[in-house]
């Protein structure tokens, strides 16, 4: 499902090139969940960006659902994301100008799905926000915002869901409820879940666990 070989990422800096990922190899089977853990600055988020096709590698290959991302241009990768990928971010990344329902409708509208409104309502019901459809993000709590983000991620029924520190901005209790919700929806939809976190307890709930240290990946 997701296959990475000899992935290298360097960025130019004033002091010369900085290597962030050093020859990463990774394989995640479809329908399973995988956690990538590591300290801040270890390269987890960079890897996530490459896996989702939001960035291009300096060397190596990323295969997502049988497609070699390295061979695609920016717009083709965006198309692929629209069709197969969902995201949940640490800081929610909701559009403040849109209501909860409109935020969930966004990826559906981008894909040209007519029933975007009713689908969005259904998913917001599933995450328990049926009373908050018309609320703007600034009027929602952190946990509620993350639930909107989860509804948005699952609304398109993606093949792969990437989650970047999904509980990073939440208190422990809210975080646990969000994770429960995430795993519940994931199991129901048989989505491949890739989680980036530094929370070991969260990582333990995944089928696979990878560890990132200074740009190098180890495990499972």
């Amino acid at each position: 499902m997701i296959k990475v070989s000899q992935l290298l990422k360097t960025v130019p800096t004033a002091d010369g090139d900085l290597t962030i990922l050093r020859g990463v190899d990774l394989e995640i089977v479809a329908g399973t969940s995988a956690a990538i853990v590591g300290a801040s600055g270890s390269g987890k988020s960079t890897l996530l960006g490459l896996l989702a096709g939001m960035d291009v590698a300096s060397a190596g290959e990323v295969w997502l659902d049988g497609v070699n991302l390295s061979a695609l241009d920016e717009d083709a990768r965006a198309r692929l994301r629209a069709e197969k990928v969902g995201f949940v971010f640490q800081n929610f990344q909701l559009l403040p100008a849109l209501t909860a329902k409109e935020n969930v409708m966004l990826p559906l509208e981008l894909a040209g799905i007519r029933e975007a409104g009713s689908i969005a309502e259904r998913f917001l019901r599933e995450v328990g926000l049926q009373e908050r459809l018309g609320h703007y993000p600034t009027t929602l709590s952190g946990g509620e915002q993350q639930r909107v983000a989860i509804a948005r991620a699952f609304a398109r029924e993606p093949a792969v869901l990437f989650a970047d520190e999904p509980t990073g901005n939440l208190d422990t209790r809210t975080g646990e409820r969000i994770i429960d919700l995430l795993f519940e929806l994931n199991a129901r939809a048989s989505t491949t879940l890739v989680l980036v976190t530094h929370d070991e307890r969260l990582a333990e709930r995944c089928d696979q666990r990878f560890s990132m240290t200074a740009g190098e990946l180890s495990g499972p």
Binding site: G49, A52, E74, D75, R81, E83, Q93, L98, T138
Partner: protein
């Protein structure tokens, strides 16, 4: 991307304020451009009518023989309205002891086609404008003729063989300066009486004038038809040739309006750029989210392109509507001034407005939005990714070219554009360097200051680059506002100086040398203020360097050197209000035969410095060498002369005297006494014209204030946009300061200091730029003299500090009124 999403984003974005400023800036640019260009178009048509008034028609066919019937017929065929005027000098006789050579003008019904014929019952009685002309069998006399002929209203005089009843006094003819038939006082009669007088015989010196008015197209096609048929002694007079004294005032006002319009466009473009840039910056994160959800670059471009299209359309429509209101306001303000209802402005101003909107959107609003399409989706994971500077430089260069082209196209003047660009370049170049130095030095000064200053100066330095840019933008806006105020003040000042409240309002000519003591006594007795008495004689320049000049009617091509008849005087010094353009003035007691020429007169006769002129003065002749060329301020109400000689050269020739004097309205009846005492003098009443000019100047000044108000609004918008462009950063920092325990007073005080310093520096830079541009405009465009404006140097920095300070703190007021956590969450 979907239309519904576009609308939803647009509607929601409206709340953030950037779209509002973008739309307002666009509406302002379009409305000022549409308003000013419509007004200028209508003003031009009114100006033409104003000129036509001095011709009493839109066009005149002048002939020394009767106007051919087919011409009249052809004019009527073209839907032109005709009326005939016949002029000739002839004796008017009251009785054997009272007769005078009069300049007779016979007019037909319909005269004048443009302007008004002014008359009164008594010689200097109440002026009327009733649209009437003398009835058949009646005449109206110039006030002086009443005294010369010793007649009163209701008595008869004889012209040729025909007795005519005196039924009024002629007080003002619109074409008095263009239709002159000899030098005697005016006698106005009806053309129907001419045959009965029997004065027109073969060989008589008669001028026939066919006055025509009508649509410009019809005038043009008649002109084209008649021109090839003009014979010896026939010519066409058009409005272009008749230059009214008010024309120059309106001309300059028009130049000022176009300048103001151009500045409004620059300011609006700056506001649009700032608003669009902030919109773009705030939306980079949106776009990253949209891209992470699968939106592609063309879809993003289409979303923002469409948003911009709708804003552009709305802005253009609102701008056109507001522009129409603006020009209506101008016309209302100037309503009493315009002699006729100005014509329709047509669609051209709307086209200009639409092009302005398109250029503003394409070159100023679109670039930051276009860059959005390139935003990396990775920003959802890493928010600290920057924007390519190289692209911003390219956008700046393209934007600069666009604004220069727009200003040039709009003002139609490379000089206006050049002066403004020079000022702006000084502000931008010098300003950016100065700002960078000053701001980088801020922290070292702040280190010794209290915490308030330390916070403020550290803030200034931390955003050094952004602050320098912001300061240049503030400076640009303040500069353009200062510039317009300075030009407006000096224009109005100059106009008012032309017509001081005690300006002479009457000319007196034809005063014999021996009558001088009597006139001076009359002035002294009645406490009338007058200029000095100028000796005056009349003669004709017949050759230059022994090459004979052709007479006007013998001219083979227009504009070639020709004979000119003119009044001239003698003087020891250069007359007041004159300026030497070439050569030098003579010693007071010189007996050399020098002559000083007015510049246009010199060009008419084709004479240059050192040329020898031959003149005929009565039966005598005189030779003189051109020692200098002068310019003359014809708008001053002083006696002015084409030729001036040294006193010793002209004293041998017979001459008369002239002067100008000021009469108060209640002293008007003294003129009857004056022409009773000195019946041969000619009095020219200028008070009516002066009153009219003063009204024009007052009204034009009001129109300029209106435009200035609009420009100040545009400048204010730029300042608001400028402040808002750095709002997020300031809000975040101030909220952080409050979060770590800073008191409201410290946060607010630091903001005040930061904005006051920025505004003050910007104001100082603006003063430099405005002075440079004012120099260029005043000396090169408005042909005025330039003097430095010390007040501006004081006003610029203080106004800049106060306005930017107040606007800045007002925009950031939420930071002390709203809990810091709310702000930190929002930004």
């Amino acid at each position: 991307m979907k239309q519904a999403l576009t609308w939803r984003l647009l509607a929601r974005e409206w709340r953030s304020g950037e779209l509002g400023i973008l739309l307002m800036a666009l509406v302002l640019a379009v409305s000022v451009v549409v308003g000013v260009s419509s007004f200028v178009t209508r003003l031009q048509s009114a100006l033409l009518s104003e000129s036509a008034r001095f011709l009493a028609a839109d066009m005149v066919v002048v002939s020394r023989s009767p106007i051919p019937e087919p011409w009249l017929f052809a004019a009527e065929q073209q839907q032109l309205q005709p009326t005939e005027v016949v002029g000739f000098p002839s004796m008017a006789v009251a009785d054997i002891d009272h007769m005078a050579l009069a300049s007779i003008k016979a007019v037909s019904p319909g005269y004048p086609l443009r302007g008004e014929l002014l008359w009164s019952l008594e010689p200097y009685g109440e002026v009327r404008a009733t649209g009437a002309i003398p009835d058949v069998g009646e005449v109206w006399l110039a006030p002086r003729l009443f005294a010369l002929l010793d007649v009163e209203l209701g008595e008869s005089i004889i012209v040729g063989e025909q007795p005519l009843l005196v039924s009024g006094a002629v007080r003002g003819e619109p074409d008095a300066t263009t239709a002159v038939f000899g030098f005697g006082p005016r006698l106005l009669m009806n053309t129907a009486d001419i045959p009965a007088t029997g004065v027109i015989q073969p060989g008589s010196r008669v001028e026939y004038r066919l006055l025509l008015s009508g649509a410009p197209d019809a005038i043009a096609s008649f002109t084209e038809w008649v021109k090839p048929q003009l014979g010896q002694g026939q010519r066409l007079d058009s409005v272009e040739g008749a230059q009214p004294s008010i024309g120059e005032t309106l001309d300059r006002a028009q130049g000022f309006l176009l300048l103001a319009g151009s500045l409004a466009v620059v300011l609006a473009a700056a506001a649009i750029t700032l608003a669009s840039r902030r919109f773009g910056e705030r939306h980079t994160q949106y776009v990253a989210i949209l891209k992470s959800l699968g939106a592609q670059s063309p879809e993003i471009a289409s979303l923002y392109g469409r948003s911009l299209f709708w804003i552009g359309l709305l802005g253009t429509l609102l701008g056109c509507a507001l522009g129409w209101v603006l020009q209506e306001a101008f016309i209302r303000v100037l309503g009493t001034l315009l002699p006729v209802e100005p014509g329709a402005a047509g669609l051209k101003p709307v086209l200009i407005g639409a092009v302005t909107a398109a250029v503003c959107l394409m070159f100023f609003a679109w670039p930051p939005l276009r860059r959005l399409g390139q935003a990396s989706p990775l920003r959802v994971l890493r928010a600290d990714m920057g924007v390519a500077e190289a692209q911003r430089s390219r956008d700046f260069v393209l934007g600069s070219i666009a604004i220069v082209a727009l200003m040039w196209w709009y003002s139609g003047s490379a000089l206006v554009t050049g002066a403004v660009i020079a000022g702006l370049s000084v502000v931008m170049g010098l300003g950016y360097v100065a700002a960078s130095i000053l701001l980088s030095g801020g922290r070292s000064v702040g280190g010794f200051a209290g915490s308030l200053w330390r916070v403020a100066l550290a803030g200034l330095q931390r955003r050094g680059r952004a602050n320098a840019l912001q300061m240049v933008i503030f400076a640009m806006a303040i500069m353009l506002m200062l510039l317009l105020s300075v030009v407006r003040t000096s224009l109005i000042g100059q106009w008012q100086a032309q017509l001081p409240a005690d300006a002479p309002n009457h000319f007196l000519m034809n005063l014999a040398p021996e009558e001088r003591p009597e006139l001076q006594r009359f002035f002294a007795d009645n406490e009338i203020l007058s200029e000095m008495l100028y000796p005056m004689t009349r003669g004709r320049v017949i050759s230059v360097n022994d090459a004979a000049l052709p007479r006007w009617e013998e001219l083979e091509e227009d504009g070639a050197p020709r004979q000119r008849e003119a009044n001239f005087t003698w003087s020891e010094q250069l007359p007041t209000g004159n300026a030497l353009l070439a050569g030098e003035w003579w010693a007071a007691d010189t007996d050399e035969a020098w002559v000083s020429l007015e510049e246009e007169f010199a060009s008419d006769i084709g004479a240059a410095l050192g040329d020898r002129l031959s003149l005929r003065i009565g039966a005598d002749s005189l030779e003189a060498t051109v020692l200098n060329i002068r310019s003359v301020d014809w708008q001053s109400m002083r006696p002015n002369f084409f030729m001036v000689f040294p006193p010793k050269v002209l004293q041998a020739f017979p001459g008369m005297y002239m002067t100008s004097f000021r009469l108060l309205p209640e002293q008007k009846s003294l003129l009857n006494q004056l022409v009773g005492i000195l019946p041969t003098v000619t009095v020219i009443e200028l008070d009516i014209v002066i009153r009219e000019m003063r009204v024009v100047i007052d009204q034009v000044a009001r129109a300029l204030e209106l435009v200035l108000g609009v420009i100040l609004l545009a400048g204010g918008l730029v300042l608001i946009s400028g402040v808002r462009s750095s709002l997020d950063g300031r809000l975040r920092e101030s909220a952080l300061l409050r979060a770590v325990g800073a008191r409201k007073g410290v946060v607010l005080g630091a903001l005040w200091i930061e904005f006051l310093v920025l505004g003050g520096l910007a104001g100082a830079l603006a003063s430099v730029g405005a002075e440079v541009a004012a120099w260029g405009l005043q000396t090169q465009v408005f042909e005025m003299s330039w003097t430095p404006t010390p007040l501006m140097w004081a006003l610029g920095p203080s106004l800049g500090a106060v306005i930017v300070g107040a606007l800045g703190v007002w925009s950031c007021r939420r930071v002390v009124n709203v809990p810091p956590v709310v702000i930190l969450r929002e930004v």
